[in-house]
């Protein structure tokens, strides 16, 4: 960030939220470890990580329910460390929504406005307006228990959005929904975010939620950010082996570099497979180093050994189909390689005679460019 371009960060902050060097320890446990990031105005930002990685703690610090051990949190360019949670213009959609069961929909949405002393007519107008925007104009007088799961979700968001927050935090709000509704809500959330044009910070352990909705995703592991980037960057250009393994599916081996030659690395896996990689990520990968090797299934082609290959793949293996996992366009085969491991490869299943079947002898081929090595 070039500070020279900003005359007064409070007046024209390019970033709604900025965290610098946040640490949080609970006793000896480091829950959040030196996390820094900036979120541009109006974007959909996800923090993706396995459970226990510290993402909820991070979110609670932004909301003000926890204080960082060190580091600074700025909202619209102003530090909020000394601002209590009820004074921060950061609203939060809780994992189980935390709608107030003793109030009806209208009261739930009006609660925040009442707290800041908005006058009655204004509250009425704003509540009607926000209900209109979430396309539920007629539910104002309903009780919470009369709403469907998806409606509750939208009310929880409306309750926050009516406060016109600088940042909206969402803590895995889709976790409790069934699969079909979750898919629908993913799209809806993205649309709502566009409509309100507010910065959303979305916390999840579900990579598909994060990849589908977000402008930017931060991958978090053991209290640290492994990588921040656009979803496609994270998928195609992971910077660490954790990201490569966590985002998307991969075939994974542990191995060692046996030779380096003109930007290509010869590696041998622990089980003795030999392959060539043209993408080594990380410092000091040289002959003799231990590495992790990742190849995504969609970059591996499987053809019957009897059929004619293109011949231009740097890596090829013989194997036998162990099973076919049919899933429409995302069908896959599991192939047992010569050392007895299973390798996944995407296939097209047409329903014709040339489809692979269990027991077929196959040749697996992939390019060196799609073989990623990470220093261990």
């Amino acid at each position: 960030m070039n500070t020279a371009t900003l005359t007064d960060p409070a007046l024209d902050p390019a970033y709604d939220l900025e965290c610098s060097n946040i640490h949080k320890s609970f006793g000896a446990v480091r829950a959040v470890d030196d996390v820094s990031f900036k979120i541009p105005k109006g974007s959909f930002f996800s923090i993706l990580g396995p459970s226990g990685c510290g993402k909820t703690t991070l979110m609670r610090m932004i909301a003000g329910f926890e204080d960082p051990t060190s580091g600074d949190i700025q909202i619209k360019g102003k530090s909020v460390l000394n601002t209590p949670p009820n004074k921060r213009n950061v609203k939060m959609v809780f994992q189980h929504l935390a709608l107030f069961p003793m109030m009806n929909v209208y009261e739930n949405i009006a609660y925040g406005l009442r707290c800041i002393g908005t006058d009655k007519a204004e509250i009425e107008r704003k509540v009607r307006d926000v209900l209109e925007r979430i396309a539920l104009p007629d539910v104002a007088d309903r009780e919470i228990h009369q709403l469907s799961g998806g409606q509750k979700q939208r009310i929880a968001i409306a309750r926050c959005m009516v406060m016109d927050p600088d940042v909206l935090l969402l803590d895995e709000p889709l976790g409790a929904l069934d699969l079909k509704l979750r898919e629908a809500m993913k799209i809806e959330l993205k649309l709502l975010q566009h409509q309100f044009n507010t910065t959303f910070i979305y916390i999840t352990h579900d990579q598909s939620e994060a990849l589908v909705m977000s402008d930017h995703v931060a991958i978090m592991n053991e209290g640290r950010f492994e990588q921040i980037g656009r979803p496609e960057d994270l998928y195609h250009n992971p910077q660490t082996s954790f990201v490569a393994g966590f985002v998307g599916d991969s075939n994974r081996w542990s191995g060692r570099v046996t030779a380096v030659e003109g930007g290509e690395y010869r590696v041998e896996t622990e089980a003795g497979l030999v392959m060539t990689s043209a993408r080594a990520v990380g410092q000091g990968i040289s002959t003799g180093k231990e590495v992790s090797i990742f190849v995504r299934p969609e970059f591996i082609t499987a053809r019957k050994t009897s059929s004619e290959g293109s011949g231009n793949a740097q890596n090829a293996l013989q194997g036998r189909v162990d099973s076919v996992l049919f899933n429409g366009a995302n069908s896959r085969v599991l192939v047992r390689d010569p050392v007895g491991e299973l390798i996944e490869a995407d296939v097209v299943v047409t329903g014709g005679a040339e489809d692979l079947r269990a027991g077929d002898d196959v040749t697996l081929e992939w390019s060196a460019a799609q073989t990623m090595c990470f220093a261990v």
């Binding site: 003000g64 994992q95 189980h96 935390a98 107030f100 003793m102």
Partner: protein, 288 residues
């Protein structure tokens, strides 16, 4: 066939409960109703009539005592709620999982001792030559020993102490069922501590509050030992009135009438309380 068996087992399961209600609650009360409607006209001669109830209305001592008992019970209920709520909140929301059980047990301990012993405990502490008075004289804070016993304040303290657990238990169980996120959401949306308490925690805990209040009020209004033992020269309690009617004045008829008046009075107070808080009996009883 199947449904017959089901119905039979339902009846069998329900029978003990129905018998209990009928034999131990409804029947004796019906007997009391009949008794309360008998007027004594001469030795061993009785007539049907409302004389015992009319006596009550015509004698200010009686209804003053009832009103006094009622208002003091309401005060005790209110104090028990005021003191019990923070304790319950601490146990349910702030204390760690492990200390919660221990704290609950601590609250239970006074119940292991009988009413009588507890009242005597208070007497030992509060009497003129008791522990507190002598301690205060010993450290020179007061010159003359003070009598803390035998006044309304002592009665109220003793009653609050006796009943507070019955306030804490339903409160803990309702507050325990409250998602912490609800409280955080209350803050997050801009509420200060007082707003969150008033608009979120208290409304949520209302069923527990109301059921605790009902139990505590009923227990207080119906208590006998504590007000008698700790009470002063002027502190008559309505239950004492009932006891006197039954035992010292051999006037079972008016004692039965008084018993019903107490039942009616407390029921009306509870009904008003439910109306004011917008709760139903079913709701409060089910929740806690």
């Amino acid at each position: 066939m199947q449904s017959d068996i089901k119905r039979l087992s339902l009846i069998l399961l329900f029978a003990p409960f129905a018998l209990w209600i009928a034999l131990l609650i409804i029947l004796p009360h019906m007997g009391m109703v009949v008794l309360s409607l008998r007027e004594k006209v001469a030795p061993r001669v009785y007539e049907f009539g409302f004389g015992n109830y009319i006596d009550f209305i015509n004698e200010p001592i009686y209804w003053n005592t009832l009103l006094r008992t009622g208002s003091m019970s309401i005060l005790v209920t209110f104090l028990a709620l005021l003191i019990g709520f923070p304790i319950a909140y601490y146990i349910a929301k702030i204390a760690g999982k492990r200390s919660r059980g221990a704290l609950f047990l601590l609250c239970l301990i006074p119940l292991w001792v009988s009413d009588l012993i507890r009242a005597f405990g208070w007497i030992l502490l509060l009497r003129e030559t008791g522990v507190i008075s002598s301690f205060l004289t010993d450290i020179g804070l007061i010159k003359q020993p003070i009598e803390f016993l035998y006044n309304d304040i002592t009665v109220i303290i003793g009653l609050v102490y006796t009943v507070i657990l019955f306030m804490i238990v339903p409160l803990v169980s309702t507050l325990d069922g409250m998602d912490n996120a609800m409280i955080e959401a209350g803050y997050n949306l801009g509420g200060n501590g007082f707003t969150v308490l008033r608009r979120i925690i208290v409304p949520y805990a209302m069923p527990g509050i109301v059921s605790g209040c009902i139990v505590v009020f009923m227990m207080t209004a119906g208590s006998y030992l504590t007000p008698i033992l700790l009470g002063g020269k002027n502190s008559s309690w309505f239950t004492e009135q009932i006891y006197d009617q039954f035992i010292t004045r051999f006037n079972w008829e008016s004692g039965a009438a008084f018993g019903f008046l107490l039942l009616a009075f407390t029921s009306v107070v509870v009904w008003i309380g439910l109306r004011l808080t917008g709760q139903t009996l079913a709701n409060t009883v089910a929740k806690s």
